[in-house]
Amino acid sequence: MPKKKTNNLSEVLKLHELQETEITRDETKILHNPNEKEKLEKLDAIIKEIESHIPESMLSRYRKLRNSGSLGVTKIKGTMCMGCYISIPQGDINRMKKGLIASICSHCGCYLNIEE
């Protein structure tokens, strides 16, 4: 039986890169005058480029998380999700590493960047 398709780690890494760039955009909005439009346009172009490498289903789930005010992607420390600080079973982390299950925290729903 074919394995169920899950997000692979490189897609989660891209999603993490997207989140980092979006936060940089937020910082730029705070630090720079609204008439320095070219700064935001430069970041918007980078965001668009990163988005083009991420499947639509992941992007829309990520957007829902971000729009609810939480992070869309987070790291783990040991086995702890750094989004909700709840431990994830080691077996699940191993399955995420093998791509057998999606890299998503079962408690808070954040995508997990489980890169070492």
């Binding site: 705070i30 700064k39 970041l43 750094m82």
Partner: protein, 154 residues
């Protein structure tokens, strides 16, 4: 509500330090964080700061610089304030302005947005000319930390 007094004490204010380059300034500014154990790996934090600066300048139009980075080398959010004597340095090539006031912010990578309210408050402080002038004329680190600690964003 975020309070600057929770982050800025006289121990993390640097007055009149000398520097000629961007990375030298960053090294000086991160030293109090290394001394207090907040930064666990100075080289990694420096490289994260330079990466962030390359992505987009953190220097405001008025010259106040807010170098910051999310880093695995940071244990908890921390700030160092630096005030350079005249003429300051050109911290970023992107912004054609000399910088004399610096707010270095270390952000732990597991809490990537935790600094945004702090950044916002410090930017509001730095946007007012009178506040910048006050900081540039202080004689002691204690006075600088007091000025910032008393600022509530009004």
């Amino acid at each position: 509500m975020i309070l600057l007094r929770n982050f800025i004490t006289k121990e993390n204010v640097l007055l009149g330090f000398s520097t000629v380059s961007q990375s030298e300034a960053l090294k000086s500014l991160m030293q109090p964080m290394i001394d207090s154990g907040v930064v666990t790996d100075g080289d990694l934090f420096l490289s994260d700061l330079l990466d962030r600066e390359n992505k987009m300048t953190t220097v405001m139009e008025n010259g106040v610089a807010f170098p910051h980075a999310r880093s695995n080398a940071i244990k908890k959010m921390a700030v160092t304030v630096g005030i350079l004597p005249e003429p300051g340095i050109e911290f970023s090539l992107e912004q054609d302005v000399m910088s004399r006031i610096f707010f270095l912010i270390g952000v732990p990578s597991y809490a990537p947005t935790v600094h945004l309210p702090l950044l916002s408050l410090l930017a509001k402080f730095a946007n007012q000319k009178i506040n910048r002038e006050k900081l540039l004329t202080v004689k002691t680190c204690g006075t600088a930390s007091k000025i910032l600690s008393n600022y509530k964003g009004g």
